[in-house]
């Protein structure tokens, strides 16, 4: 299989890089970062980061009017369905999307906002024991990982969130999570309906 003889010769370098990146991002099963995209090019033909970034920017603009678009999340760039047509796509899948229990959401929220935390820390905040099931589910979904072990009795695992967690919620960084309400705000909002 020869490497690119079918690629039209009149095609400029910039256009060619964009075209390759377009194909790669559509074919990859996971989001791809600039370094990962660079890695695909043979060393001698490798563009620089700026060229890759330009191709990504061009593609983002090019797909601006389409039903799908290029989106940046924590672990890289990925194509995804635009929000206006998402409800139609949802109809494509017979199964209802999973619902997460309050216990699971509160657990992942504690890990996300207070990481690194031990299971005991989570239990302390929630005031109830955390079932192993929840931790197991979060680990299996690769939303959390063991980042270290606390140097106390029993060396309990310290959990943190992963890039996959951010990817799932369409976020690039933890900073984009909804801000935790400040203590004072909560106090002021004593009347909020819960």
């Amino acid at each position: 299989m020869s490497e690119q003889h079918e690629m039209p010769t009149f095609m400029g370098e910039t256009k060619k890089i964009k075209r390759i990146i377009e194909a790669l991002l559509f074919s990859a099963s996971e989001p791809m970062t600039v370094p990962q995209l660079l890695e695909i090019f043979p060393e001698l033909e490798r563009p620089n980061k700026k060229q890759i970034q330009r191709a990504l920017d061009d593609l983002t603009e090019e797909y601006g009017q389409q039903a799908i678009g290029l989106h940046k999340v924590a672990s890289g760039y990925r194509f995804q369905v635009k929000t206006d047509v998402a409800p139609w796509v949802a109809r494509l899948f017979a199964q209802k999307p999973p619902k997460y229990s309050r216990a699971l959401l509160e657990t992942i929220a504690i890990i996300a906002y207070q990481q690194p935390v031990t299971r005991a820390d989570i239990e302390e905040i929630r005031g109830v024991s955390v079932s192993s099931n929840i931790i197991q589910t979060l680990l299996e979904r690769t939303w959390i990982k063991v980042v270290a072990h606390k140097e106390t009795l029993g060396r309990p695992a310290l959990y943190g969130t992963t890039k996959q967690f951010l990817d799932y919620f369409n976020l690039t960084t933890l900073d984009e999570m909804p801000p935790l309400k400040a203590l004072q705000e909560l106090a002021d909002a004593g009347a909020i309906d819960v």
Partner: protein, 257 residues
């Protein structure tokens, strides 16, 4: 918090209604994530400020639930009982005359409770906000294109000569330890030639000794072939035959019956 419904009836007003069917109470309790959640509910329900919670009042209400559930012989998580004890202690402490110096040294259980309630409420709200975020499977859909037409070449493992040498090294050391087998040490070209001669003989037809030599290989080539024939003979892999004195030598594979 969502209004609890039982048989289509909203049970959001449960606390004021003293007669609660046991099933409803069980549903009611299940709606809470734990004692902190229940306490928060009681406080928020009465539009109270966490900072200024009337401990006595809240404790009374909380105890009321616990008693009710006990009367109904419902299984109650240990955490609820623990909280009941904590509330009772906090309440009794608040009734005691303040002993300034002593109080300063130990943490005020009321403040500890307030802090815990605030921390929990922040997380509770954060979890609700997280649930609202657009997410994969529900609001975000990824794209997939067909790549079955893409031919993927099978990649073969890479080996360098150094690795091969190291591998042999291990074998040699082990072989020495076993000391049963001594690896022969003639030039490798001889071993290579041994393979070539055997290959030629594989068809079972005897070959003349002379035909094994390629004279364009020069003197060293002849020596290699000769040594290879001797090695093969020593290894009992071939027979060197001379049918009559001064006749040409013929080489054939040894057949062991």
């Amino acid at each position: 918090m969502a209004v609890i419904t039982l048989e289509g009836e909203p049970y959001g007003d449960l606390p004021t209604d003293l007669y609660i069917p046991p099933e409803a109470l069980s549903v009611f309790l299940e709606a809470f994530e734990g004692p902190l959640d229940l306490l928060l509910y009681l406080i928020r329900k009465q539009n109270l400020d966490i900072i200024n919670i009337p401990i006595a009042q809240i404790t009374q209400q909380y105890m009321h639930y616990i008693e009710l559930m006990r009367d109904l012989q419902m299984e109650l998580a240990a955490e609820y009982l623990l909280m009941a004890a904590l509330l009772a202690e906090t309440k009794s402490r608040s009734l005691l005359p303040r002993q300034e110096r002593f109080e300063e040294e130990i943490e005020d259980p009321r403040m500890v409770l307030i802090k815990r309630l605030q921390d929990y409420e922040r997380i509770k709200l954060a979890a609700e906000a997280l649930d609202e975020l657009p997410r994969i499977e529900r609001d975000i859909f990824l794209t997939a294109v067909d790549t079955s037409t893409v031919e993927i070449e099978k990649v073969q493992p890479e080996v360098n000569l150094q690795e091969l040498v190291l591998a042999l090294q291990t074998v040699l050391q082990r072989a020495n330890r076993l000391s049963k087998h001594v690896i022969t040490k003639e030039p490798l070209s001889v071993r290579e030639r041994m393979s070539m001669i055997l290959e030629k003989l594989e068809d079972a037809m005897p070959l003349s000794f002379g035909s094994l030599f390629a004279y364009d290989e020069g003197r060293s080539g002849v020596v290699v072939t000769f040594l290879a024939v001797l090695e093969l003979s020593k290894a009992n892999l071939i027979d060197i035959l001379q049918l009559e004195p001064f006749a040409a030598l013929s080489i054939s594979k040894r057949v062991v019956v």
